[in-house]
Amino acid sequence: MKLKHLGLLAGVAIGAMSMAAPAMAQVTLKIWSIDGNDRVGIADTFSKEFDEANEDIVVEYRIVPFDDLVNETLRAFATGNAPDIVSFDNPDFALFSSRGAMLDITDRIAASEVIKAENYFEGPLNSVTWDGKYFGIPKYTDTIGIFYNKDLFAKAGITEPPKTWAEFAEYAEKLTDPANNVYGATFSARAGEEGTFQFLPIIQEAGGNYDNVNVDGAVEVLDLWKKIVDNGWASKDVLSLGQWDSTGTFNSGNAAMAISGPWEIDRMVSDAKFDWGVALLPTITDGGTRSSALGGFDWGIMSTTKHPDEAFRALEYFAAQDHRIFEEFGNIPARSDIELPVTGIALKDEALKVFQEQLQFAQPRGPHPEWQKISKAIYDAMQQALTGQISAKDALDQAQATIKGIVG
C-alpha cells in the first residue's frame, strides 16, 4: 500500500516537473562548427555539455564541412537563418565582423569574469578584432616551425637547426642526397591558403605585411626558395603539395627539414623512425625580426541572434574549458595563462615547447574582409616566382599592385 502510494507521488512529481520545464522560457541556441564530423571535436563536445548543464537553454549543434562553412553561413545570414554562434577559420573571421555580421562583444568581455582579453595571445586576439572592437574570442591556435631530422643532420655534420633563411638554403644543399631519395627540405608552396600561410611570415619578417608585400627581404628569400627548388634541394612538387602531404615525405625520411605545424606531431611520433626536433622559423638576418603564421579557429556570435546573453554565456562556458582542449583534442589554447600538460612523450613535449614559443611571434592573416583575394595575390606571386615565369621582384611588385587595388 505504501509502495503504491510512493509510486503515485513520484508520478505526480515527475508530471509536475515535466509541466514546469516548458514554463521556464527555453532558449534555443544554434551553434555551427566543423567539429564532430569524423571524430569528437571541441565544438560538439562543449555544446553538448553546455546544453546539459543549462535547463533553460537548448543547443542545436550542426556540423558544417570546412569547405562549405563560409558559403553556408553567408547564405544563412542573407536569408535570415543565421546560427547564433559560429566558429570560423581565423582569416575568414574579418569577412563577417567587418560587415556587421558578428556581434560586438567588447563590453561583455570587459564585464566578464571568465573571458579576459589580456589572457589571449596577441595574434589570435587580433583576428577577432575589427576597428578596435572585439567580435569574438579565439577558439584555439597553431603556427608553423621547422621540423628537422637530427639523424640526417648528424650525418651531414650539422649540429644546429638553421637560424637564417640563407642557412636554411645552405643546409638544404648539404642534406640533399639524390642517391637515397633525400631532399634537403620540404614545404608547401601550394596554390591556396596553405601557400600564403607559409610565405606570409617571411614578408612580415622583412618588415612588410599583407598590404606591403614587395619588401626587399621577402624578394631575397623568395629567390632563395627558387634556388632550393631549381637545384633539386626540395622537390618541385612543393608547388602542389599541401602541408600534410609535404610533411609525409619528411616522416618517411625523404626530406631532412619540413616547414609545418603542431598538427603533425602525433603522426610524426608514430611514423618517423628517427630522432627529430622542432626549431623556430629562420629569420632573414641573424637575430632579425621573428614572425610566424597563425592558424586556428575563432568563436563568434552572429549579430542577428535573438539571445545575445545566452550566447555569450555559451562562449564563457567554452572559454572556461580551454584548459581541456590540448589533452582531449590535441589543439593548442590561444591563451598565455594556460600551461600545457606534460604528455610524457619526450619528442612531443620538446616540440610543443618550441611551438608555444613560436606562437608569441605568430601574426594573423589580415584581418581583412577581402582576405581571400589578397591571399590569392600572394600565393600567385610566390608560384610565378618559383616557376621562373617572372622574377621574384616583379612577381611581388605585381602582387602589391593587385593588393593595393583591393585594400585601397
Partner: protein, 300 residues
C-alpha cells in the same frame, strides 16, 4: 468553341500543348538560372546581397575587370588547350578503339563493356587516382616512363608550368574516352554491312572504305560526339581541384574552374557569373554545330 477543344485533343492545339509544356520546363529549369546569371554579371554583387535580386547596376564593368585580370589571357589559352586537346584525344582514341572493337574477335564486346568502368567513376575519384599516378617523385607514370627509357629525370607533371595543364588533359582524355567510344561504336554499328561488301567488290582498299563510307555515314554521330565533347570538357571541374588546383601560378586554370574560384573561394560572385556568361557563348556555338549536324542527318 468545340472546334477549339477538338484541336486540343487531336490537332494543332495538342501539338502546341506538348511543345509548350517542354518549353515551360526548359524555361524554368534552364532559362531562369541563365537569365539570373546574365543579370548578375551586370550587377555589383556582394556576398551580403547574394540573396536579393535588386542590386546596383554595374554595366560592363565586371566584363572589363575580368579581361583586365592579369591571368585572363593565360586562362583563355589554358581553356583552349584543355578543350581542344581533350576533345581531340578523346575523339581520336575513342574512334580508334571503336573501330578496333567493331572487328570480330573473341571477347570484343566484353572488353568494350569493361571500358565503361572509366565512365561511371566520379570525376573526383578519377582525379585522386591520376593525382597519384602523375605525382613527381613517386608517381607511377614517371616510373613507367623511366623503365621504358623515354625520360631520364623526373617529370613534375603537376608542378611544372609546362606540363600542369597537360596533366589534367591526360586525366580528362582517360575519363571521356569510354563515352566517345560508346557513341561512335553505335554509329559504326548502324552502317549497313552491304555497303562495305559492295565497295570491296569494286576494289576499294581499307583506307578508301573508311574515307568514303565510314566517315560520311558517321557524319551526324561525329558532330554529336564532338559537340557533346566540347560541352563536357567545358563543364569538367572535378579533375582540377583533385589534381592541380589550377596551379602552379594559374598555369592549369581553365575558365570553368576560374569561375568557381571567383565565386566560391574569393566570394566575387559577379566576376564568377561574368566568366560563366563568357563560357556560355562558347557552348552556344557548340550547340549550333550540334543542331546543324543532326539536321543534315542521312536518312533512309
Amino acid at each position: 468553341m468545340s472546334r477549339f477543344f477538338n484541336s486540343l485533343r487531336d490537332g494543332v492545339g495538342f501539338d502546341l500543348i506538348l511543345v509548350g509544356a517542354a518549353l515551360l520546363f526548359l524555361l524554368a529549369l534552364a532559362g531562369l538560372p541563365l537569365v539570373y546569371n546574365v543579370l548578375m554579371s551586370f550587377q555589383q554583387v556582394d556576398m551580403f546581397t547574394l540573396g536579393t535580386l535588386i542590386r546596383p547596376w554595374a554595366g560592363f564593368s565586371n566584363y572589363v575587370a575580368v579581361v583586365q585580370q592579369p591571368e585572363f589571357w593565360l586562362v583563355t589559352k589554358n581553356t583552349l588547350i584543355f578543350v581542344f586537346a581533350s576533345m581531340g584525344g578523346q575523339f581520336i582514341l575513342g574512334f580508334a578503339l571503336a573501330i578496333f572493337f567493331a572487328q570480330k574477335f573473341p571477347g570484343a564486346s566484353t572488353i568494350r563493356g569493361l571500358f565503361l568502368v572509366s565512365w561511371v567513376m566520379p570525376g573526383l575519384v578519377v582525379g585522386a587516382i591520376w593525382s597519384w599516378i602523375l605525382a613527381g617523385d613517386f608517381g607511377v607514370l614517371n616510373t613507367v616512363l623511366k623503365a621504358v627509357g623515354l625520360i631520364d629525370g623526373t617529370v613534375f607533371w603537376k608542378s611544372d608550368p609546362a606540363f600542369s595543364i597537360w596533366a589534367v588533359v591526360i586525366a580528362n582524355i582517360w575519363l571521356g574516352l569510354a563515352f566517345n567510344m560508346l557513341l561512335l561504336s553505335v554509329g559504326l554499328a548502324a552502317i549497313p554491312r552491304d555497303l562495305y561488301e559492295a565497295a570491296e567488290l569494286d576494289g576499294a582498299n581499307a583506307f578508301q572504305r573508311f574515307w568514303t563510307i565510314t566517315l560520311p555515314m558517321m557524319r551526324s554521330t561525329i558532330g554529336a560526339v564532338l559537340s557533346l565533347g566540347l560541352i563536357g570538357t567545358l563543364q569538367q571541374f572535378d579533375l582540377f581541384p583533385a589534381i592541380t588546383e589550377g596551379g602552379p601560378a594559374n598555369t592549369s586554370t581553365v575558365a570553368g574552374y576560374w569561375s568557381w574560384q571567383m565565386s566560391f573561394q574569393l566570394y566575387d560572385f559577379a566576376k564568377g557569373a561574368t566568366i560563366s556568361v563568357m563560357m556560355f557563348l562558347l557552348v552556344l556555338f557548340a550547340s549550333i554545330i550540334y543542331v546543324r549536324s543532326t539536321r543534315h542527318e542521312v536518312r533512309g
